[in-house]
């Protein structure tokens, strides 16, 4: 029987998809099921990733979460109320996959408009807009019209409007789409900085590496169904991680002697297969003990990548 302490320790459920389905019907009567029997709870303080191939239903799920689409079946609730009601009362920081801002608006005034709608007090608007412009590196583009912004800058503007308020829920749909490597990395740092016990973040992305780094759990969806819910922490990773690439700075020959089955993958690089993380660690300890200088150990597939391959492969 659970004691009171158990309840207080469990993080509160913030977002709940209850048996959600969405079917699109064409004028000719054809129907397409975009989402089917989707149930998922997202806890307060969690960063949840949503991964899936193109057309898997990620964006439809997010549209239902924001109340832009009505589910054909089931419900989506945030903080115990229908999603749309929550958004109308509290707002959500949202970056859509396609950043759609009227092209004639200027970057700065677009943010001032969104800040006005977000209910930011007049005397704080310019300070807050200035902050997100600085944060997203848009200072030199602030007076440009939206139509004059490059794809990457437009994406940053989209992210800037999502961060205008101190939101408790952030939904980022393909957030690094169109960003260059520098800003992709910067974005990850920003999201890391947004992690807070009372803030819930959803990130939909094709980029599994990004989700592996940022998310606590990842919902893998395909053909509108939840295929797997994967924890990205390495404590659950042992069965999936069997192949690693080891790079050594010294002791090349010793690796061959310790791992006879190691395959050379390049200059001072070897692909090795182990059956558990424990085995990997003991072998590395042996190598290091023998004087090998290990430069890096990288799994061939991340935990998430492995799970994704299996889940999407299984469903297709």
């Amino acid at each position: 029987m659970p004691c009171a302490g158990d309840h207080s320790a469990a993080p509160a459920i913030v977002i709940e998809f209850k048996n959600v389905g969405k079917t699109y019907k064409s004028l000719l009567g054809n129907s397409v099921k975009a989402v089917e029997e989707f149930s998922l709870v997202v806890a307060q303080g969690e960063i949840l990733g949503i991964a899936g191939p193109n057309g898997a239903g990620k964006t439809t799920l997010i549209a239902m979460m924001l109340g832009y689409l009505r589910p054909t079946t089931g419900t989506v609730e945030i903080d115990g109320v229908p999603a749309r009601h929550y958004v109308e009362r509290n707002g959500i920081g949202y970056l859509s996959e396609l950043v759609a801002i009227p092209p004639k608006w200027r970057a700065y005034t677009a943010l001032v408009r969104y800040a006005t709608l977000a209910g930011i007090p007049d005397d704080e608007i310019h300070q807050r807009v200035g902050y997100v412009i600085e944060l997203l590196g848009l200072s030199e583009h602030r007076d440009k019209k939206v139509k004059a912004l490059s794809k990457g800058n437009l994406q940053r503007l989209g992210l800037a409007q999502a961060l205008l308020r101190d939101e408790k829920i952030l939904v980022l749909d393909e957030p690094t789409h169109g960003l260059d490597p520098v800003w992709t990395q910067r974005f990850r740092d920003i999201v890391d900085g947004l992690r807070r016990p009372d803030r819930t973040i959803l990130i939909a992305s094709h980029n599994l590496d990004e989700l592996q780094r940022l998310a606590d759990r990842v919902a893998i969806i395909d053909r509108g169904r939840l295929q797997r819910l994967v924890s990205t922490g390495y404590e659950h990773a042992a069965p999936a991680m069997t192949r690693f690439r080891i790079a050594v700075a010294r002791g090349h020959d010793l690796v061959r002697a310790t791992f006879p089955q190691a395959e050379e993958a390049g200059r001072d690089e070897f692909d090795v297969t182990v059956h558990s993380i424990q085995e990997l660690n003991s072998t590395l300890a042996t190598l290091i003990g023998q004087g090998v200088l290990v430069a890096s150990v990288v799994p061939e597939h991340s935990v998430l990548e492995q799970q994704f391959r299996e889940a999407v492969g299984e469903s297709s």
């Binding site: 801002i101 709608l117 209910g119 999502a162």
Partner: protein, 241 residues
Amino acid sequence: MISLAKYSLWQFRDFVLERGIAIVLIGSLWGYVMFEPLRRAMGPQWTGDQTSPVWGIALQVASAVVSLSVLIAVNGIISTDRKTGYYRFLFSKPINPVVYYAQLFVVYMVGVLVAMLILSGLLRTMFPAFSIRNFLLYTAIIYVAMGGIGFFLSVATRFDWLTLAAVWLGSRILRDFSGAKGGWRSKAVELLPPVHKLDEMANSLIGRGTAHTSDVVWFLGYGLLFFAFGLLIIRYGSLAD
């Protein structure tokens, strides 16, 4: 609600830049091209009062400019946001789309009235007897009637200006052809927008400052009913469909 009220200034600015200037330019050009040659040709015979032979034409042109202005004003009032996806960032903020669009409808009405105020001021330089007050009253009624239907069509379809023009013109043609035939056809056309009353309303309201109460109620009731249907669809429909 307060943030939305503040945002109405941005909405008005958008109206002026994207629609208001166009309305004033089109209306001015139309009036100039229509009446300036006549004024020159008539010379001293031009009086510009209600006894002038061109007075009736002036009322018809003024009425047509109002209809065109309303068409320009409500074109894409909701469908543009839905087609382009602008609604996504707007309605992730803590605002109610029903109130947002209702406010937009009212702000655009104010915009149309301001545009008509400017145009009627220009028209008065040619027709000193032209009543600005009566013209604005007529504009407000037509905005609610025609704009209400346009608002509904903008929620329900993505080709709203075309649909509104078709409904407006189609109603006129159907009333002309079927209205006097009696039987079920004449009863059925009674359900269509009361466009056949436009000329009469323009003549009486703009020209004399009076109008049949039943006509005014019909116009306003028709527009408000469709406006309310539009709001209901926003409330219970899907913005992203």
